[in-house]
C-alpha cells in the first residue's frame, strides 16, 4: 500500500514529468497562456495517460513479453496510443458531449504529447505490474497538470509586467519554467 502511494507521489512531484524529465514540453509551453485552457489540458492529459498506461501495460505483459518481442515496445505503444486517443474521442463525442466540448481540441493534440509515450515506456522499464502502471500514469499526469497550471498562473502575472524588451515573450517563459524546475528539485529530498 505504502509503495503504491509512493508511486503516485513520485510521479506527481519527485519525478515530475515536465520539470524533472523534460517530457511534454511543447504543450507545457504552448497551452499555458490561460489558466482555464491549461487546466482543461491537464484534465485531458490525466484522462488519456491513465488509460494509455493501463492499455500499454496489458499489451506489454500479455502480447509483447510472451512472444519475446519487447524490443518493439516503442512502435507498438505509439500505434496503440494514437488509436486509443481516437477511440476515446469518438466514444466521448457520442456518450458525453459535455466532456467532449470542455476537452475540445486538446484531446487529439495529446496524441502527439511525448509524455504519454514516455510514461508508458518508463513504467515498463521499472517493471511495474498493471495496478502500479495505472497509478504511476495517473500520478505523472497529475504532476503534468500541477506544472502546467502553475506555469499558466505565473504567465498570467508576467503578462502585466513591464519587462525588458529582450525578455518579452518566449524567453521569460523559459526562465520561469527553469526556475520552477529548480524549485521542484527540492522534492528530491522527500522521504517516507
Amino acid at each position: 500500500m505504502k509503495s503504491l502511494i509512493l508511486i503516485i507521489v513520485s510521479g506527481a512531484l519527485i519525478n515530475n514529468v515536465v520539470l524533472n524529465q523534460f517530457l511534454g514540453i511543447c504543450s507545457f509551453l504552448g497551452v499555458s497562456k490561460q489558466m482555464k485552457a491549461s487546466a482543461s489540458l491537464g484534465m485531458a492529459v490525466i484522462f488519456v495517460i491513465t488509460i494509455a498506461s493501463a492499455v500499454a501495460s496489458l499489451l506489454y505483459d500479455f502480447v509483447l513479453k510472451p512472444f519475446g518481442i519487447d524490443f518493439m515496445k516503442t512502435i507498438v505503444f505509439i500505434l496503440v496510443i494514437a488509436a486509443l486517443v481516437q477511440i476515446v474521442e469518438m466514444f466521448l463525442k457520442k456518450t458525453s458531449p459535455a466532456i467532449y466540448k470542455s476537452l475540445g481540441i486538446f484531446l487529439p493534440l495529446i496524441t502527439t504529447n511525448c509524455a504519454v509515450l514516455g510514461v508508458a515506456l518508463t513504467n515498463v522499464q521499472n517493471g511495474y505490474n498493471f495496478i502500479e502502471c495505472v497509478l504511476s500514469g495517473f500520478g505523472t499526469a497529475v504532476g503534468f497538470t500541477i506544472a502546467i497550471v502553475l506555469l499558466a498562473s505565473v504567465r498570467v502575472r508576467i503578462r502585466e509586467e513591464d519587462l525588458p524588451a529582450p525578455l518579452r515573450g518566449a524567453p521569460i517563459v523559459l526562465i520561469s519554467a527553469a526556475l520552477m524546475s529548480i524549485a521542484f528539485m527540492g522534492f528530491g529530498g522527500l522521504s517516507f
Binding site: V63, F67, I69, M72, A83, Q86, K94
Partner: protein
Amino acid sequence: MSTVIITTAVITLVGVIVGIALVYTGKKFHVDVDPRESAVRECLPGNNCGACGYAGCDAMAAAIAAGEAPASGCPVGGQPIADKIAAVMGVDAALQEKKVAFVRCKGSCDVTHNQANYIGVRDCRSAVLSGINVTDCEYGCLGFGSCATVCPQDAIRIRNGVAIVERNKCVGCGLCAKACPRGLIDLVFVGNTVSVQCSNKDKGPMVKKVCSAGCIGCMLCTRQCEFDAIHVENFLASIDYSKCTQCGKCAEKCPVKVITPPAVKPVREEVDDGE
C-alpha cells in the same frame, strides 16, 4: 529469422486489431453532424485567428451551419469565401468587400508636436488614462502603438509618430480599431483610397495652431465634389462612400492635403518613402 517473422506477424496483428477497433467505434459511436458544417469548414481559411468573434474556424463553421452567424462573417476570407459559404448554405451572401484599417490622422512629428513629455508605460491607453493631453492635437494619434501591438498581422507601424497601416498585410479584423483610445482607426473598403486623414473637430484656426496637416473645414472639397459625396460637419470633412466615385478632385483641391489621393495606395507609399 524467426524473430523477424514473429515480430512482423504480431505487429501486423496488433495493427489489424487496432484498425478494426477504430472502424467499429467509428460506426458504433457515429455522431450525426450537420453535413453543411463540415462543408462550411472546408470553405473557411482555417488559420483560427478568431477575428470573427468565435473560438476558431470550427466554432465559426458550427455557428454558420446553425444559422447563428452570417455567411459573410469571416473578415479574413472576404467576398470569395462568403460566396462559397453562401452557395453551401443556399443563401445569397450580402455583398461584402474586403475592408482594411485606415488611420484618420496624418499628424507626424513634422506637422504637429507633443505638449507633454509622457514617460509612463509606452501604450496609448495608459497615456490617455494619465489624464494629461500628451499631443498638441487632442484628437490625434499618440504614436505609442497600441494598435501595432494588437495587430495579429504585423500590418501597423508607427512611423514618425503616427500609425501607418500596410494595406496589403491588413486583413480587416478590426482589433486595432478597438485598441485605439482615440477611435482614430476605421475599417474602410479596400477600394476606397480617397479618405480624410484627420479627426480634429475643432475650428480651422484651432487646428492650424496644433497641426499643419489637419482638416480646417474650409469646405473647398464640398464645392469641388460633383457627386455630393463629401461634407463638412463639425469643421471636419467626411466622405459618404456610397456616393464617392474615387475621382480625387477633392484631394487635388484640398489646401492642407489631408485627403488621400485616389488609386495610388497612399498608406503603403508613405511607408516606402520613409525607408
